[in-house]
């Protein structure tokens, strides 16, 4: 009894602490130190959120709290209800820890920015929306959080709004998310009309959920989590500042789609079509993103495609009906992906804005802490045994191997795993090793503790998080215990093959062969030709058909063809035949008179 009270109080206290700067800071007189205040707020919130997490870990307490009810109609009520189960209670400390580190980093990274307070406010608003999404028990509150993170993503990607590419990227993010929102609203409407509630726990489990609302949910996840088909916005979102990429587009916002599917997994669990769709879509996304990452040269784009690939892997896990494992991958992925972005931010700032890995090199000696953490992050991403990524990634691939569901998805995922190792190692080799190819007078240093503290904290998290989470949270489904040795070591073998491929390719770049284009390189470099194929033709067709409807259908058809010109067309052939008779000769006319009189007389008699 007391544990639930403590749980609720501490979690709501966390939320209240985060809301304080938004309410109090606009009224404060001294606005010089807002970034540090906001960082300290988030740190306090993180420490407080450890209380409910430990409570849950030790006693297994969960709770659903409903506060106030919006009586929409007499039949349909929408309460303000919070669900504190393992997902929200584990996500809160992780999200707050990652956000704290990113905000601390951003006080250094955005120090020369005139509107730094506004930036921190945007990040804080985003965090509030994301936490509302996590803790929501009904679809209404989840939708509020969903739209909130979408809006803040738009504002933050287009932070430097003088730049044309940033505005395009922000618009792309909003439009692709909107297409996903169609699916979400569809499934919300179905849920409201059939189950008469938007609460997750009140939806009774039918024997077979109809596929249409599940398709809506999968569409929503495709839009928000950048699966193949609605993925171009995620690499374009790298136009925003690096703290934005680290927070939104690697750890928190893009996992909102997967989180939705985790929350609604009882509905998904008994529909094999939807599960297979998730599996195949996830496998395709992970391979496609990994292929595109192989030839990217911008360090942020490589990490963006890596995020996209890991999101595909999470979707594969949902398709295997293992939501808890997907959540584990979300948690571990947040640590090392945010750390990778922060390391890349340090490198970019140190090299005076240089983002191309072809102009980096030898940074191991110049930025030791950053590059060590970059290596740790890449190793965790590859699934090196006993780092954070191993606990989730290896389990996913083992389950995929032993599930006998879909060989094609398995092959794609294994190929993507080896590609992950390849592009991570390529990035590491080109950025850290070798002779420096950077311009010589860049201010390369990491003397500021604002840089090293967040990165080392996240590195610690990358190493320990997998171990800690798996040892304290009992899995709800039994993981596969016995399998042949090749199946058990499949992920590690795929990674090792990827590493071998990367080493071979890097030796090849040193040899003096004349470089030229080839079709595979072109496919990977231009991101599978997806953007030009989809962006122009869709809009052109839509606008063309709109023009045709407006001008051809309405103007031409109704006003002309159904009216005067139509009549003319009908009569035209008869008119053309009969004009030959209009010769003007009297004899022809007398003859036609006689013919018609004879015809009339013959028909009358």
């Amino acid at each position: 009894m007391e544990t639930t009270l403590l749980l609720n109080t501490s979690l709501l206290l966390t939320l209240a602490i985060i809301l304080t700067p938004t309410l109090l800071l606009p009224m404060s007189k001294t606005s010089s130190n807002s970034p540090t205040t906001i960082t300290r707020t988030v740190k306090t919130a993180f420490l407080i959120s450890l209380v409910p997490m430990t409570l849950f870990m030790l006693s297994g307490t969960e709770s659903i709290t409903s506060y106030w009810e919006w009586k929409f109609t007499t039949n349909f009520k929408i309460p303000l209800s919070f669900k504190m189960d393992q997902y929200s209670m584990m996500f809160f400390p992780i999200a707050l820890f990652v956000t704290w580190s990113i905000l601390q980093f951003a006080t250094w990274y955005m120090a020369s920015e005139p509107h730094i307070t506004k930036f921190f406010f945007y990040l804080l608003t985003f965090l509030i929306a994301m936490l509302i999404l996590t803790i929501a028990n009904n679809m209404f509150l989840l939708f509020i959080g969903w739209e909130g993170v979408g809006m803040m993503s738009f504002l933050l990607i287009g932070w430097w709004q003088g730049r044309a590419e940033a505005n395009t990227a922000a618009l792309q993010a909003v439009l692709y998310n909107r297409i996903g929102d169609i699916g979400l609203i569809l499934s919300m409407a179905w849920l409201a009309s059939t189950m008469n509630t938007w609460e997750m726990q009140q939806a009774p489990l039918p024997t077979q959920t109809p596929t249409l609302p599940l398709l809506g949910l999968i569409l929503a996840a495709t839009g928000k989590s950048a699966q193949f088909g609605l993925h171009p916005w995620l690499p374009a979102a790298m136009e925003g500042p690096t703290p934005v990429s680290a927070l939104l587009h690697s750890s928190t916002m893009v996992v909102a789609g997967i989180f939705l599917l985790i929350r609604t997994h009882p509905l998904l669990a008994n529909n094999p079509t939807a599960l297979t769709l998730c599996l195949c879509l996830g496998a395709l996304s992970t391979l496609f993103a990994a292929t595109c990452a192989l030839t990217q040269n911008d360090i942020k784009k490589i990490i963006a495609f890596s995020t996209s690939s890991q999101l595909g892997l999470m979707m594969v896990t949902i398709g295997l009906n293992l939501p808890q494992l997907a959540f584990l991958h979300i948690s571990t992925h947040a640590f090392f992906k945010a750390m990778l972005f922060l390391c890349s931010g340090t490198i970019i700032h140190s090299l005076n804005g240089e983002q191309d890995i072809r102009k980096m090199g030898g940074l191991q000696k110049m930025l030791p802490t950053t590059t060590s953490c970059l290596t740790i992050g890449n190793l965790a991403l590859m699934g090196t045994p006993f780092l954070a990524g191993f606990y989730s990634k290896d389990l996913i691939i083992e389950s995929l191997n032993t599930s006998y569901l879909n060989t094609w998805a398995l092959l794609l995922t294994l190929l993507a795993t080896s590609f992950t190792a390849t592009y991570s190692l390529r990035m590491t080799l080109l950025v850290q090793t070798g002779f420096p190819r950077t311009p010589t007078n860049s201010p390369t240093n990491e003397n500021n503790p604002m840089i090293t503290n967040p990165i080392t904290r996240l590195a610690l998290g990358s190493i320990l998080a997998g171990l800690l989470i798996t040892s304290y949270i009992t899995p709800t489904k039994t993981p596969p215990m016995t399998m042949p040795t090749t199946t058990k070591t499949a992920a590690v073998i795929a990674t090792a093959l990827g590493i071998a491929l990367a080493m071979e390719l890097s030796t090849m770049t040193h040899t003096l062969t004349y470089p030229k284009q080839n079709p595979h390189l072109n496919f990977s470099s231009s991101l599978g030709y997806f953007n030009p194929l989809m962006h122009r033709p869709n809009t052109t067709n839509l606008l063309n058909s709109g023009q045709k409807i407006a001008s051809h259908l309405i103007d031409l058809s109704w006003y002309k063809k159904m009216g005067p010109e139509g009549l003319t067309d009908l009569q035209l052939m008869a008119i053309k035949t009969s004009t030959t008779l209009h010769t003007g000769l009297i004899k022809t006319y007398l003859g036609s008179f006689a013919l018609s009189i004879i015809l009339i007389l013959s028909t009358q008699t």
Binding site: P114, W160, G353, R358, T509, L512, P515, S525
Partner: protein, 178 residues
């Protein structure tokens, strides 16, 4: 004086532009410096072999063949410097470059922070108003009938006149605003 920019490119300019962009794309292909230097020397030799061709027809044909070879061998993601058009921090600070007429709308307490500038600002604005008609007259006289051929502005011709559009140049924002 210095050579003015004309409205068309000379053959030399075209060849040099081809050389520079092929070197840049070669640099995008060959990441390591020693490999780049090897192929750059080979490319230079290919250009130097034909540098004394006097026949303009043959030279233009060589240039055309060179451009086509460049198009076939270009890098799909060439290296662009961050501040160049298409780079990652191009126009990044454009939203902070506010025009100078906003200074007129500052509050007196804000203007008091920069007293020496605002003391003289009215005189500068008066000077600009006075010389505006003369600048416009000079520009109207000097541009040809069917529009200007280059973007270069002429200098001041008469004694006591200021160069045309000097105010826009003097009050332009910094490259990287504070």
């Amino acid at each position: 004086g210095e050579p003015q920019m004309a409205a068309y490119l000379t053959h030399q300019q075209k060849v040099l532009r081809l050389y520079k962009k092929s070197l840049r794309h070669l640099e995008s292909w060959c990441i390591y410096r020693d490999k780049y230097r090897y192929f750059a020397c080979l490319l230079r030799e290919r250009f130097d072999k034909n540098k004394d061709v006097k026949d303009m027809v043959k030279a233009t044909e060589l240039l055309k063949a060179g451009e086509e070879e460049f198009w076939a061998n270009q890098h799909p993601q060439p290296y662009i410097f961050p501040d160049s058009p298409g780079g990652t921090s191009y126009e990044r600070y454009e939203c902070y470059k506010i025009p100078e007429w906003c200074l007129d709308y500052w509050h007196p307490s804000e203007k008091a922070m920069y007293p020496d500038y605002f003391a003289k600002r009215e005189q500068w604005k008066k000077l600009q108003r006075e010389s505006w008609d003369k600048e416009i007259k000079q520009l109207e006289e000097e541009t040809p009938a069917d529009g200007p051929s280059t973007e270069a502005l002429p200098p001041a011709r008469k004694e006591g006149h200021l160069p045309p559009l000097w105010w826009q140049y003097v009050t332009r924002p910094r490259e990287i605003p504070m």
